[in-house]
């Protein structure tokens, strides 16, 4: 055929040669017997064979087995002059065994030869399928909005919102968004629709589902061109659970902070280095310091020098978590010294799961101590007064050794202080006849019997005798009788002595009433007979009289058996100290208290009741419980969290990770501790991490995306939210919450790749591609647009039939009807008219697709005008050659044949030669017409 063209248009030989050999379409010429006589470079590239390996081979060698029979059948039909499909798809078998999907168009040439044009459509098919599958099956919600409306949503969007696709496509994109964010989302979305770049492109948005639930989504947006217009492509995932968990953590923390700050107790958190980490407002208010004056300072610098050693020892125990007794410590306030009673034990304080110090809780007992001091001073004053008294007051130990005697005693008995220092036994002063009686009484007093006054005869130093009325009582120390105190009255001076005693009693009474601790005196049968005001207030009664009516067993203790238990304890050693027990207030509220109590005995030593002190520790207990619960809650949250939580120190070495973090990277928790975080981060992202760490050192919290390398070498992409951590005002590391978005990332990348590839293929396709719906163009690629001369906007206003040549409209319309019924996929050869009025030939394909919820036709057209024109010229050439050559030759030869029989000799020979020459010419013409070759 090339030769024919060459013969016809010799000057265009190079052009045709180039056209065939360099054609982007794979071309072959197949002979009648099925062998390939010509193939171009593109075909060699398609099959992976060299050109010389192709020429002379049967064409079915390059066809996959499943299509071989069918293609061969078509070929045979064509040779026989029967109808066979001209354009279809088949599977091409490459040299390397791979299969490619190829679109073929077969054109018949003279002498039962065929010209095949082939286009490789494998990638296009795969990409289309992949793109669809990825978007439709991803759990990531993917949607596109344009002109304020959703124009595309994948099934995940339906799941995320509860609306079905049809409902969503009627909605405006901001309709689901929470009111607070609606205007902002609308404004940003509209800018994006205009093609403006908006940052950030990832954010969290609250929205409502169809059933009215408020949920949170993490959205990622990007600008795209969709159907020729700017649009926004968004992906979203449900992060509601994460948001709820965050809210709960905040609430728990808020509760703890409230308790910690608002408790009347004095709370202080001391770090293991002895420095103060935190202190509550009550403490600051009491001591007069500002928070910044205290935080980070050594706690000992606030402790009175004389208490430093004991505090140090106790803190050591506290740090080890050993239960320590309550301790009284004098703290240097800004203006004065405060005595603080810290409770028993301690609470270890955790931060991000790591112990950082201890929480000590105390109460201010300064006033109480002052009162004690006042008491001591009062006692001293009492002694001074006692010295001024004319009555003799004397104290002696259980052996009778006199330890104290007032001035009146010295004066009355004539002894000196030196004598006392040398040692005087009280019994020695008693008349020998009264001495036995005195010894018995001492024993009774020691046993706790309360005895009335007795008269003894006694001697002065100078031996003279006195009649003395002696009134004795035991001296207790730590609940034990350690001595006896006696008041000796010279009987003549009895009245004066009695008055002095009464005054002393009043003093004690006053003290009893003013004590801030609740004090009581009760009877053995369970009635209060005296209580102080603190007790009335503690129990919430209006008056002491109400309390006196109570049955202690039933109305005072929460558990009726408790009184019996306490009495049993007291009977063992005469007292109980700091016995923890629950008591009832008038309003029924329970109080946890510490009770210290000892027996009261009558003068015969019988137990007649009890005296005790009640200290309310309810609030402290409640606070301890709340603190523990709150702490436990944090730990649970951190451990249960699905997000990886990681804490590292100031050198980025990991000090804590939760189970989820370890799991995300495939490590065990222990393996990660001590590891430097940089080791885990992807090499290319380390610089980024360095910058983020720098930010944190400056005190900024930040959120960023970074790639980690898991233990098995896989790359994991996390969204990291990190905050700096401080201790004593110094940067000590970071806390990060890590959300694994690897899957999402991969899906996004694949989607982007697939889209890019899809677009590239569509745009670089040598065929025009279009989507037709209801007779209107919805999409055309640039090839289509360029071939036909109209833009998509112009085409949208036209009916597609306007583009088709008048004579071919019926044919094309019928073919499209068949395609829409899925009966046909090929559009027959037809003519179309370009914008500038040129008539061109094309073939096409069509399939039915779902477009915006309605069926549409996805079609391709390939311009075959040049091939067609060439074919036409060739036909004309052959016809002309046949007509102008064969007829005259045939006539000439016919006449020669007739004449030849009538002549002889030389003339006949000459005529024979003329006939032979004509036969040669005839043969040449035949070769031109049938083979396109010029030879005999």
């Amino acid at each position: 055929m090339l030769n024919i063209l060459f013969a016809l248009y010799p000057d265009k030989w190079e052009m045709y040669k180039l056209f065939f050999e360099e054609s982007p379409i794979a071309l072959t010429v197949v002979e009648e017997d099925g062998t390939i006589s010509y193939a171009n470079k593109k075909f060699a590239e398609l099959t992976g064979y060299k050109l010389h390996e192709i020429i002379g081979e049967h064409f079915t060698k390059f066809v996959a087995e499943q299509d071989r029979e069918r293609m061969n059948e078509y070929h045979i039909k064509r040779v026989r002059g029967e109808e066979a499909p001209q354009e279809y798809e088949y599977k091409c078998l490459r040299k390397d065994g791979k299969i490619r999907v190829v679109r073929i168009k077969v054109i018949k040439l003279p002498e039962n030869r065929t010209l095949s044009c082939k286009i490789d459509v494998t990638e296009k098919k795969e990409v289309e399928e992949l793109f669809k599958r990825v978007v439709e099956s991803t759990i990531l919600a993917v949607f596109i909005y344009q002109d304020d409306h959703f124009v595309y949503v994948n099934p995940a969007v339906e799941k995320l919102t509860g609306y079905c696709k049809e409902e969503l496509l009627k909605m405006k994109f901001w309709e689901l968004v929470h009111e607070k964010y609606k205007e902002k989302v609308k404004e940003r979305g509209r800018k994006r629709q205009k093609g403006e770049e908006i940052e950030p492109s990832i954010y969290e948005i609250p929205y409502y589902t169809k059933d009215g639930k408020l949920k949170w989504a993490l959205c990622s947006l990007t600008n795209i061109m969709y159907k020729g217009k700017p649009a926004a492509l968004a992906t979203a995932m449900d992060i509601t659970d994460k948001k709820v968990a965050e809210e709960e953590i905040r609430e728990s923390r808020r509760k703890f902070e409230f308790l910690y700050q608002n408790s009347p107790s004095l709370n202080i958190i001391i770090g293991f280095d002895g420095r103060i980490i935190d202190i509550n407002d009550s403490f600051l208010k009491l001591t007069g310091y500002k928070k910044e004056e205290v935080i980070g300072k050594k706690v000992l610098s606030f402790v009175a020098d004389y208490h430093k050693e004991k505090v140090m020892k106790q803190l050591e125990q506290d740090f080890k978590g050993i239960k320590t007794p309550s301790i009284e410590v004098d703290i240097k306030g800004k203006k004065q010294m405060h005595t603080i009673l810290f409770g028993e034990g301690q609470v270890i304080v955790y931060e991000k799961g790591e112990p950082i110090g201890v929480l000590l809780s105390g109460i201010d007992v300064t006033t109480h101590k002052k009162m004690e001091k006042a008491l001591k001073e009062s006692e001293e004053r009492f002694r001074e007064v006692a010295d001024l008294l004319p009555t003799v007051i004397c104290e002696f130990n259980l052996d009778g050794k006199i330890l104290y005697v007032n001035k009146a005693g010295f004066d009355l008995f004539g002894y000196t202080v030196e004598d006392l220092k040398a040692g005087i036994n009280a019994l020695d002063l008693i008349h020998p006849e009264d001495r036995k009686k005195a010894e018995e009484r001492i024993k009774e007093i020691i046993q706790g019997k309360k005895l009335g006054p007795i008269e003894y005869r006694m001697f002065k130093k100078d031996g003279s005798q006195l009649n003395i009325l002696v009134n004795s009582s035991p001296i207790y120390k730590d609940g034990k009788v350690v001595g006896i105190r006696s008041v000796l009255t010279n009987i003549t001076e009895l009245k004066r002595t009695e008055k002095a005693l009464k005054r002393s009693e009043e003093k004690y009474r006053n003290l009893f009433e003013k004590m801030k601790d609740a004090l009581y005196i009760s009877t053995i049968d369970g009635k209060f007979i005296d209580v102080n005001q603190a007790m009335v207030e503690l129990l919430g009664y209006d008056s002491k009289e109400e309390i006196y009516k109570l049955d202690i067993t039933k109305d005072f203790y929460c558990n009726p058996g408790d009184r019996e238990k306490i009495i049993k304890e007291i009977s063992k050693k005469g007292y109980v100290k700091d016995y923890e027990i629950e008591i009832k207030r008038k309003d029924g509220k329970k109080l946890i208290v510490l009770e210290t109590c000892h027996e009261r005995r009558d003068e015969n030593g019988n137990v007649i009741g009890f005296e005790g002190i009640i200290r309310d520790i309810t609030e402290k207990k409640e606070m301890e419980r709340a603190l523990k619960e709150s702490e436990e809650k944090y730990r649970m949250l951190v451990e249960m969290s699905q997000e990886g939580i990681c804490v590292d120190d100031e050198n980025e070495n990991i000090t804590f990770v939760n189970e989820a973090f370890a799991k995300l990277l495939g490590y065990k928790k222990e393996e990660l501790l001590g590891k430097n975080i940089f080791e885990l981060v992807h090499e290319d992202d380390r610089k980024k991490l360095e910058e983020e760490v720098k930010k944190r050192r400056k005190g900024e919290a930040s959120k960023y995306e970074i790639r980690f390398i898991a233990k098995d070498g896989r790359i994991k992409t996390f969204i990291v939210s990190a905050i700096p951590l401080y201790k004593n005002g110094k940067f000590v590391g970071s806390l990060s919450v890590n959300l694994d978005i690897t899957e999402r990332k991969i899906a996004e990348e694949k989607l982007a790749e697939s889209q890019a590839l899809y677009k590239a293929i569509t745009e670089s396709s040598p065929s025009g591609i279009f989507i037709l719906q209801g007779g209107e163009f919805k999409f055309v690629n640039s090839k289509f647009s360029n071939s036909i001369g109209y833009t998509l906007e112009e085409l949208k206003k036209m009916n597609y039939l306007e583009l088709i040549h008048r004579e071919d409209r019926y044919k094309v319309n019928e073919a499209i009807k068949k395609v829409m019924k899925k009966e046909e996929t090929i559009l027959p050869e037809f003519r179309y008219v370009t914008k500038d009025g040129r008539v061109r030939w094309a073939v096409g394909t069509g399939v039915v697709i779902e477009y915006k919820g309605r069926p549409a036709l996805l079609g391709t057209i390939t311009d075959i005008t040049e091939i067609k024109e060439m074919h036409e010229k060739e036909r004309k050439f052959i016809e002309d050659t046949s007509h102008y050559f064969f007829n005259p030759i045939c006539v000439a030869k016919g006449y020669i044949e007739l004449i030849r029989e009538r002549i002889n000799g030389e003339e006949k020979n000459m005529l024979e030669k003329a006939n032979q020459a004509l036969t040669r010419l005839e043969k040449i013409v035949k070769n031109i017409v049938t083979r396109g070759e010029i030879h005999e």
Partner: protein, 128 residues
């Protein structure tokens, strides 16, 4: 009764030579001529009406007024049993294929010459 042959051919030389070679070969045929497609069809009709339906029609392709394909179609419409042979220079063209499609039984290419042509006729009439 002699067999009837109708030759539809616009070139007079061709008509004459065909007749001479038939005569020379000793074939006893009653030969009728037509010089364009239209005339050919009319002649066929006329002969049929006279009870002299041609046993064979020799048809050229390139004819004035009506081409060979059209003429063949018309004849076949008139007589479905008509036997038409193409004798043409356009033996390897779509045109020739269309002639077959229209009902012609055979194409005799011009290059076989008149001897070849007569051989085909002999074969046809002998078989008949």
């Amino acid at each position: 009764m002699n067999k009837v042959l109708l030759i539809i051919e616009d070139e007079r030389d061709m008509q004459e030579l065909m007749k001479k070679f038939i005569e020379k070969a000793g074939l006893k045929l009653e030969i009728y001529s037509a010089f364009d497609g239209k005339e050919g069809v009319e002649k066929y009709k006329e002969l049929m009406e006279k009870g002299k339906k041609p046993d064979l029609v020799i048809m050229d392709l390139k004819l004035p007024a009506m081409d060979g394909v059209e003429a063949t179609k018309k004849i076949m419409e008139m007589d479905n049993n008509a036997i038409i042979y193409g004798f043409t220079a356009f033996f390897d063209t779509d045109w020739a294929r269309r002639l077959i499609k229209a009902g012609a039984k055979k194409i005799i290419p011009r290059y076989v010459g008149f001897k070849g042509f007569v051989e085909e006729l002999k074969k046809f009439f002998e078989e008949k």
